[in-house]
Amino acid sequence: MVPETLTDTAAGEAAAVHGDDHHQPRGILRWLLTTNHKEIGTLYMLLSLLMFFVGGTMALIVRAELFQPGMTFVVPEFFNQMTTMHGLIMVFGAIMPAFVGLANWLIPVQIGAPDMALPRLNNFSFWLLPVAFTILLSTLFMEGGGPNFGWTFYAPLSTTYAPPSTSFFILGMHLAGISSILGAINIIATILNLRTPKMRLMDMPLFVWTWLITAFLLIAVMPVLAGVITMMLLDINFGTSFFNAAGGGDPVLFQHLFWFFGHPEVYIMILPAFGIISAIVPTFARKRLFGYASMVYATASIALLSFVVWAHHMFTVGLPLTAQLFFMYSTMLIAVPTGVKVFNWIATLFRGSITFDLPMLFALAFIVQFTIGGLSGVMLAIAPADFQYHDTYFVVAHFHYVLVPGAVFAILAAAYYWLPKWTGVYPNVKLGQAHFWLSVIGVNLTFFPMHFSGLAGMPRRIPDYALQFADFNMLSSIGGFLFGISQLLFVAVVILCIRRKGEKAPPQAWEGAEGLEWQLPSPAPLHTFDTPPEFIPERDSPSRH
C-alpha cells in the first residue's frame, strides 16, 4: 500500500525530473535494498506501529488479568513474561523506532539535505530491527518461556535464576542496540555535514536540535547497555560472577550500570517529542516559538543532567546517605529546564491565533499530560517519600504518563502533522477527532487511577492483589481496553492517507507552518533537495530577530 504513493506519483515525478531511478528493484527487494531516507523512515514507522500493537496486546493481557483480584486469566509465570515483553517491545520496538523513523523522514528535508549522510548504513540499521524483534519474540515459544524478569532485568533474577532463553534475549538486545548506535551516528553525520549553506546550528528546527542531542545520548549509553548484557551473558554461560554474590560479585553493580544507560534512555524517548511539540504549537498558534535559544539550552541541560541522576531509581537499594542526597538534588534540578520548556510552549500560545487542528489537539494533550507526569516525577525525586512510592503503581502511573500520554501522543501528533507531506492528503478529520477523544479518555482512565492504587500500597509487577485495590484496577483495565481499541482508528486514518482518500494537501499543508519541508510538493517526491535549497537566516531561521 505504501509503494502506491511513492511509486505512482512521487517516484514518478522524481523519475520525470531526474530520470535516474528506473533501475530501482521492485517488490520486496525494493524495500530490502532501499537506501532512500524516506522509504527507510516509512519502514521504521510501520515497524513501530506493528510493535505498538504487539506490545499493546501484551498490555491488554496484563490488564485482563488485573481486571479482578484472583488468578483468573493467566498463570503468574506467563504474566511476568507479558509485563517484561510489553516493556521491552514498547521501549525498543515501538517508541524508539518511531522517533528514528521520524528522524529519517524529516531531518534531511528540514535541513535541505538530499538524503542521510550514510544511506547504506541506514538500511542496515533498520533491517537489524526486525531480526532483533523476531529473536526476542521467539523466546516466548522456547522451553521455559521468554524473559520474565521485568524490562529492567535485574540480576540475579535475570542471570542465575533466569529461563534458558535469556541468551536469545541478550542477542536480540545487542542487535537492537547496534541498530540504535548506527542510526545515531548517521543522524549526527547528517546534521553536522549536510545542512544547506548558511544554515547554522542555531538556525535548525528544534526537532533537528532535539535529535542531535538525543543521538549523542544514544552513542554515550547504548554501549553501556551492551556491556551490561554481555556481563550477564558471561555470568550465565561462562561461569563469571559479575553479578553473583556467591562468587564475589555485586548484584547492585548491575543496577548502577543498567540505570546509567536507563535514565538517559528515558530522555532518548522524550527529547524528540519536545522537538515535535515545538514545531506543532507555533504552527497552530500562528506565532513563532517563544524562546528558541532557551529551548536548545534546556534540551542540552536535560541531556547533561541525565548522566548524573541514575541512582534515583535505586533509592531503596541501600545507598549511603551522601549518595542519596546527591541523587535527590540532581534529580530535582531536572525540573528546572523541563519547566522552561513547558513555559515556552504556553508563552507561544499566549496572544496567538489558535486553531485546533488534529496535530494541535494531540500536542496540547501532550503538554498537559506530560506536565502531570513531570510533576509526579518531582514527587518521586524526594528520596524519603520515594521509600513509599518506589516500585508501586505510583511509579507505573508516573512513567506511563511521560511515555504514553507523553511520548506516544507526540508521535501521533507528528503523524497527523506530517502525513499530508508524506502522502499528499490530509488525515480524515472526523476519524482523527474520534481517535483523539477516545485516546485521551482511555489513556487517562488507564493511568490516572494508578496514582491512587500506588499510594494506597499496591506494588507493581504483581498478577494478583489485595481487595482494597480492586476498584482502581477495574477502572484501569476498562481504560486500557478503550485506549487500545481506539488505536485501530489511527490505523484507519493512516490507511486512508496511504490510499490517498481525502482532501489533497498543497505544499504548504498548514497555514502557519515554517520550515524547508513545506517548500516541497505534497507528497514529497522520493528524491528531494538534490541541489541545496536557498536559506536566508534573517528570513528563515527560527531564531531570527
Binding site: P69, G70, M71, T72, P76, E77, N80, N148, Y154, P156, L157, Y161, G249, D250, P251, V252, F290, G291, A293, T316, G318, Q324, L325, M328, M332, A335, V336, V342, F343, I346, A347, F350, R351, G352, S353, I354, V368, I372, V378, M379, I382, P384, A385, F387, Q388, H390, D391, F452, L455, A456, G457, P459, P463, D464, Y465, A466, L467, Q468, D471, F472
Partner: protein, 382 residues
Amino acid sequence: MHSLLLGSRWLLVLLGFLTTQAQAAAINTSSGWNMPTGVTGISQDIYSLHMIIFWICVAIALVVFGVMFWSLFVYRKSKGAKSAHFHENTTVEVIWTAIPLLILVAMAVPATGTLKQIYDSTEADMDILVTGYQWRWHYEYMEEDISFFSNLGTPQSQVLGEEDKGDFYLLEVDKPLVVPVGKKIRFLFTSNDVIHAWWVPDLAIKKDTVPGFINESWVVIDEPGTYRGQCAELCGQNHAFMPIEVKAVSQETYATWLEEQREMAAAEAQGSQREWALDELIERGEGVYTTYCAACHQEDGSGMPPAFPALRGNPLVTGEEGYSKHIETVLYGRSGTSMPAYSDTLSVADIAAVITYERNAWGNDSGDRVQPTEISELLSDD
C-alpha cells in the same frame, strides 16, 4: 423510569465503591487512595512531606494549566484573535527559571532532614535479621536465638476463586513477625536468592534485600496493631504471594511470646529424635507441602511440566530406586532448575514429613516412611 433505574444503578456502584474504600481504610492507615500516615514518627514525617509536595505540585499545575487554557480560550482564531509577534523576553525567562529553583530548594530542606533521621539506625534496642527467600520471609531475632519462616497464609483456593476471598486476601501470613512497641528495632536485610524488597507502608520501611549484602533500617512503633505489607521487588513467579505481617504488641505480651517460642523450639528438637507414625508424618507433610511445594508442583502433584515436573506417578517419588535421590533433591535442590535446597529452610521433621507425604499422596501409595532421624543422619554425614 428507565433512566431512573439506570440512575439508581450508578448510585449503587458509587456506594459500593465508597464502602470498599472504607473497608480498605481498616487494613492500614491509608484512606484507600492516599499514602498511609503510618504509626511511626518517620512515617508521619514522610506523609507530611508527601502532602506538602503534592499540594505544591497541584498549585503549579493550576497556575500552568490555568494560563494555558485561558490562552486557548481567549486567543482562538475563530474569535478573531490576531497573533502577536514577540518571541523572547529575557526578564520573564529568568523569572521562570529562578522561581522553580527556589521552590525546589524549599522542598529539599525538609526532605534532607527526614532522610538524615531515616539513616540514623544507631543505638537500637534489638536487631532482627530479615532474609528474603523465593517466596517467603525468614526472621531471625539476633539477641534471642529465635528464627522462623513466614509464609503466605491465604489458601490457594481463594486465589483460584474456588472460595470467597477473605478480608486480608494476600496480606496474611502463617506466622507473623512479633515485635514490641516503644523499642527501637534495627532491621538488617539480606537475601538467600534474588533481590526482594521488604515493605510495610505503615512503618514507612521499604528496603531491598540483596544477596551477599546487608542493608539496614529502623523503626519505633508507637501503637500496638497488625501492620501488613508485601514484597516490592519483582522476585519471580510468586512475587505477589509473599506478604509481610508485623504484629506490634506491648512489651509484656512480647516477653510471653518469646517464652512460647523457646518452648516450641524445644518441643521441635525433641520431636526430631523420636520415631514417627506414618499417619503423623503424612498429616504434617501435607501442611508443609501446601506451603512450600504446591505453588510449583500443584496441590494435586500434577506439576506444570516442563518447568515443574509432576510428582504424582513420578518414578523418583514412587519407586524403590528413587528413594535416596528423592531425599537428596529435597535437601539440596537441583542445580540448573528452579528446585531450591530445603536443608536450611525446613526442619528435619518437616523434610521427613513432606517426603513421606509425597511418596504416599495422590495414589503414589509407596507406604514409605521417612524418619526425622534418617534426615538428621544424612545431614550430619556432610
